[in-house]
């Protein structure tokens, strides 16, 4: 086969959903760090979000499956630890989709600026942790709905 160009491969990877938060892609999440051809082998560098996140192995599998489905059969997945993942790498598209999905995107100030449901700023923290390692649990004091907040690290 002819080697697809690198921007095309990034577009394909942008269609691979995060297994825990399927409204954003692995590219939106900022965990795909590099895509490069080495001869006829495609090398993809991935970085873990949290060191113990159980989604990591599923993400590797999903990335490989998606690339194979596009006809690429020589793939090397590399784990890249450094520099460590930061929520600064979330794409703007990803942040907007998180809000639409009901998850407040990370903020440098350390807490959500507004409730993702009603948009009110009167929110309080219930727990520093949530249903996945990357989220904390908050509540809106206006609409009274609980919501997830994507932790800022």
């Amino acid at each position: 086969m002819t080697r697809p160009d690198i921007p095309t491969i990034w577009r394909w990877l942008d269609q691979v959903p995060d297994p825990e938060i399927p409204v954003i892609s692995v590219v939106d999440l900022g965990i795909v760090r590099d895509v490069a051809w080495n001869g006829d082998v495609l090398e993809v560098a991935l970085t873990p979000t949290y060191s113990g996140c159980p989604a990591t192995s599923i993400i590797n599998l999903d990335v490989e499956t998606a690339l194979r489905a596009r006809g690429i059969d020589k793939i090397t997945l590399k784990r890249q630890l450094s520099p460590p993942w930061t929520t600064d790498w979330l794409s703007d598209k990803g942040r907007a989709r998180l809000t639409d999905y009901g998850i407040a995107p990370p903020q440098p100030a350390g807490g959500p600026t507004a409730c993702p449901h009603c948009g009110d700023a009167d929110v309080e923290r219930i727990s520093q942790f949530g249903s996945t390692p990357c989220k904390a649990h908050w509540r809106c004091k206006t609409c009274l709905e609980p919501f997830d907040y994507f932790k800022c690290i």
């Binding site: 873990p48 060191s51 113990g52 996140c53 630890l81 450094s82 460590p84 942790f129």
Partner: protein, 251 residues
């Protein structure tokens, strides 16, 4: 040097493994859903860090073992964790006080390890320190909330501090392995972390209306492997039984 590095990496990985396993024992039975989830998530971070430390330890050893082999197929006398971390959880106050003492130490150590002369150590520390800082924020807050809480919670926290204090000194006791790591620029002398740790602990204890015992006696023997408490064997029996009963089992 490589044996010293191997021992140092075992200490890092065994600390996170043993504490990670201990706090995972709260899963499904913590005093509130939020605390249950928080402890399970903290355990998950620590086990993730264990994979990195013990994975590197296995490479350095060069004997064909993996991180899983080191975690599941070593016996008590081969573990190099601090004694404090293998203690049973007892009540929630004891669990959180231990977590705070360790988190405050862990953040200082990982911060310094980011400048390690060993690139892999620096890389693992840079990844782990972000998680450890988050753990410390929570454990310090809880120590204050419970210490400066009700009469019952205050009493339980003070008794946890009294019980755990004699185990704190082991974190800062240096031996030949530490001296070799410090000389090679791989890790700081643990004694050099003590003053800053003490400042943080003093500040949180004051806010929590808790009092540190005056004794400087320190139980030792965990990180050197000379003598663990009777509790570690019981913990390993539970943690390792599947690999012992069904060697090589995978899913």
């Amino acid at each position: 040097m490589s044996d010293g590095l191997f021992q140092f990496l075992l200490r890092m990985g065994d600390n996170t493994l043993v504490l990670g396993h201990r706090i995972s024992e709260w899963c499904g039975q913590a005093p509130g859903l939020e605390e249950d989830i928080a402890l399970a998530n903290t355990a998950l971070d620590l086990i993730g860090q264990t994979q990195m430390w013990l994975g590197y330890a296995a490479e350095v050893e060069g004997a064909g073992r993996t991180a899983d082999d080191l975690a599941f197929l070593r016996d008590v006398w081969d573990f190099r964790n601090l004694l404090m971390l293998e203690r049973p959880n007892l009540d929630f106050g004891h669990t959180i006080t231990r977590q705070f003492f360790f988190d405050a130490f862990h953040v200082l150590l990982l911060t310094r390890l980011q400048a390690s002369s060993d690139a892999r150590v620096a890389e693992i520390a840079a990844k782990s320190v972000k998680e450890a800082a988050y753990h410390l924020e929570r454990s310090a807050d809880l120590v204050i909330a419970l210490g400066d809480g009700t009469d019952e919670s205050h009493q339980r926290m003070q008794s946890a501090v009294d019980l755990l204090w004699p185990f704190a000194g082991e974190m800062f006791a240096a031996d030949d392995v530490d001296n070799a790591m410090a000389a090679a620029g791989i890790a700081p002398d643990p004694a050099s972390l003590r003053a800053e740790w003490q400042r943080k602990v003093d500040q949180v204890m004051a806010d929590a209306t808790l009092t540190l015992p005056e004794s400087q006696f320190a139980h030792q023997g965990g990180k050197t492997g000379r003598q663990h408490t009777e509790h570690l064997g019981h913990m390993l029996a539970q943690m390792q039984w599947l690999q012992r009963a069904y060697p090589g089992a995978t899913w």
